[in-house]
């Protein structure tokens, strides 16, 4: 496990999203954004164990998953700006990121909708003996949708190579999990279909990395679907670049409890025991320079036209 690499990936994601929050008020990013700030360890810990040919499907909160899988950041920023150079030429915006070069197949912004597609990808991997796996990033609310159960049943029945990677950030928009489910331990869902289950602190990157490493190995060895529950917390509002704790839907102690456990802070403190501060500062500076460059380039890019919008309705 390369802790510096893990930190680099998380810091990259955090910095891209922080840049989005600072630039958003300028009105150049004219689409909803669901930011992952606070949840980076889940995306990075899992994706660092994946090969480029493994498939990932994501949801509305997809930035971290996209970047962690190696998605092209410039094309993501262009996409959010509605530019033609965007990863899907501006038709999707923040909620439809995809980068097929790294098999980040799609982000589907309807809760749980991507589970069916992931099941199909896994059916293909198994039928054609491709020795690849599919990871579907879902959230706590995904487990309230019927399609999860439909797919978990089938995945288990046919021992499909799929990982249900569930980030439990405790809220669906403003509604806490205790008002939506009888328990925040999701083992019961996995048990119902005899799917191996692990629960980890989703803010502890080493934990996520090590546990998912074993799980992914098991899946590749034909042991069928697995379920990993990663408990974590989003810092910002459900949708948008701001904090929304003034609305008082979250307990202040809860917020500070999770912020103390910030995945980047925890890892950085550990790294500082081994590496000089300058080393990390240099890494951070390089990341910021890269991001600033991307954000300044995007402003020069062209918008797609209404004519472009008519293309690709049907395949010829």
């Amino acid at each position: 496990m390369n802790l510096l690499k893990l930190f680099h990936e998380m810091y990259l994601i955090r910095s891209v999203e922080k840049k989005i929050t600072s630039e958003y008020p300028k009105g150049k990013m004219r689409c909803p954004v669901h930011l992952s700030i606070g949840q980076e360890a889940c995306a990075v810990g899992i994706s660092q164990n994946l090969k480029p040919e493994d498939i990932v499907y994501s949801n509305h909160r997809s930035h971290a998953h996209y970047i962690a899988k190696g998605g092209n950041i410039a094309k993501m920023i262009s996409e959010i700006h509605g530019k033609k150079n965007g990863c899907v030429n501006g038709v999707g915006g923040s909620m439809h990121l995809q980068d097929l070069k790294v098999n980040f197949m799609a982000s589907i912004p309807i809760v749980s909708s991507s589970i069916g597609l992931s099941l199909g990808a896994a059916i293909n991997q198994k039928r054609l003996k491709l020795n690849k796996i599919t990871v579907v990033f879902i959230g706590d609310a995904s487990l309230e949708e019927g399609i999860f159960f439909e797919c978990a049943n089938f995945a288990s029945l046919h021992k499909l190579p799929i990982l249900f990677a569930c980030e439990n950030n405790l809220f669906s928009v403003y509604t806490p999990i205790k008002e939506r489910q009888i328990d925040s331990n999701f083992k019961r869902y996995a048990d119902a279909f005899k799917i191996p289950y692990k629960r980890v602190d989703g803010n502890n990157i080493e934990n996520v990395f090590n546990v998912s490493k074993k799980i992914i190995k098991n899946i590749k060895n034909g042991k069928g679907p697995h379920f990993i529950q990663m408990d974590t917390y989003r810092y910002l509002e459900h949708c948008g670049p701001n904090e929304d704790d003034h609305l008082n839907y979250r307990n202040k102690n809860e917020v500070s409890f999770w912020k103390k456990k910030d995945p980047l802070k925890v890892l950085e403190n550990k790294l500082l025991k081994k590496y000089k501060r300058e080393k990390l500062s240099y890494m951070k500076k390089t990341i910021h320079r890269k991001i600033d460059q991307i954000f300044s380039n995007v402003l020069k890019e062209k918008y797609p036209t209404p004519n472009d919008a008519k293309k690709y309705v049907y395949a010829e």
Partner: protein, 363 residues
């Protein structure tokens, strides 16, 4: 058609579908079947009978009773490079998967800018009669046809069933294949050969200068019987069978109505917001001059009841069609009486909730 049919091979609508599926499975190794009861004794009224045995379980995947997950998985598999035929026994079951169909099947190609194509065919059977009732006898072709990115095909005859099945299975787009249960009984001449052709918007069943009728599925059979009777009285109908209402291309209709100056549409589903409304709206937009007010026939705006007492007059039939045509073409009472007489002579008195023997063909 019936002259040739004596010499040429005739098979049923069911056999035509099975032949189309079987030949497509032989031609394209990427294709596989998914569905509920794909290997059961009924095997979708025989349309997929024996396919599991012939091609093995790898090509025929039994799925749990979970349409949302099933269709999602079919879409996901096709995005990953396979081709999938999904078999559902009634159109209503697909509603569980409406989210997948509308969001993922219809839009993946668009969102991915042509990188993810979704070559799936979803077979949806439309029921009617024998008290099927409110949730087993809808067709919803207008709903599926209102979604850009989906294709909708609706065969009326056995040869079309095979042709459309093959063309759908070799189309790169998601295709909703709407199949009327009563048509399963019909027989007709079907080419033995495997042939992929371009999807046509409509087929011309009869040529005529007096009136244009646009219909599809079982309504085309109903209309054909009327057309054949009217022919005896020198009334010539342009009968257009709209087999592919999505994407909708009405060039043939415009051409026809310019000639006939009369248009009548028959919807498989409800008249309100049905395909007929769209067809007539486009004709009117083209400013094609008409000799009579355009007429739409379709189901009344209430669910399909089960009771044989309540479905009286619910579905389009030949008589209803004739009365509309009389008014449009200002057919004199005396002549109309003769037409009706001829029609009645040709139509056996049977209960309204079982298929008319006429529908068996051969076509």
């Amino acid at each position: 058609m019936s002259m040739q049919s004596k010499k040429k091979r005739q098979i049923s609508f069911v056999e035509a579908i099975r032949e189309g599926i079987t030949q497509s499975l032989q031609k394209d190794k990427r294709l596989f079947l998914m569905g509920e009861g794909v290997d059961d004794p009924a095997s979708m009224w025989g349309t997929i009978k024996g396919i599991s045995k012939e091609f093995g379980k790898k090509r025929v995947l039994e799925m749990p009773v979970a349409e949302n997950g099933l269709i999602g998985a079919a879409i996901g598999s096709s995005i990953a490079g396979s081709k999938v035929l999904v078999n559902l026994q009634r159109v209503e079951f697909s509603l569980y998967a409406f989210e997948q169909i509308v969001n993922n099947a219809a839009k993946s190609f668009y969102i991915s800018r042509g990188k993810h194509s979704v070559p799936i065919v979803i077979r949806l059977v439309v029921g009617r009669g024998w008290g099927q009732g409110p949730e087993h006898a809808q067709s919803m072709e207008n709903i599926f046809s209102s979604i850009p990115g989906l294709k909708v095909v609706i065969p009326a005859f056995p040869n079309e069933a095979k042709e459309l099945m093959i063309n759908s299975l070799f189309d790169k787009n998601p295709v909703i294949f709407i199949e009327h249960r009563w048509l399963h009984y019909s027989k007709g001449v079907v080419n033995k050969k495997f042939k992929i052709s371009k999807l046509k918007s409509m087929t011309k069943i009869n040529s005529g200068k007096d009136i244009t009728i646009v219909s599809n599925s079982i309504n085309t059979l109903i209309a054909k019987r009327v057309v054949d009777i009217l022919k005896l009285f020198n009334i010539k109908v342009d009968l257009l069978n709209l087999v592919n209402p999505n994407p909708l291309n009405l060039d043939e209709v415009f051409k026809s109505v310019k000639k006939t100056k009369n248009i009548l549409t028959i919807d498989l589903g409800h008249k309100n917001l049905g395909l007929g409304g769209e067809i007539i709206a486009q004709v009117v937009e083209k400013n094609i001059s008409l000799n009579s007010s355009p007429v739409r026939i379709g189901l009344p705006f209430h669910p399909v009841p089960s009771s044989v007492g309540m479905i009286k007059g619910y579905y389009p039939d030949g008589k209803k069609l004739l009365f509309k045509i009389k008014k449009m073409l200002k057919i004199k009472d005396s002549k109309f009486k003769a037409i009706m007489g001829a029609y009645n002579k040709n139509s056996p008195k049977i209960p309204i909730d079982v298929p008319d023997p006429y529908f068996k063909g051969p076509f």
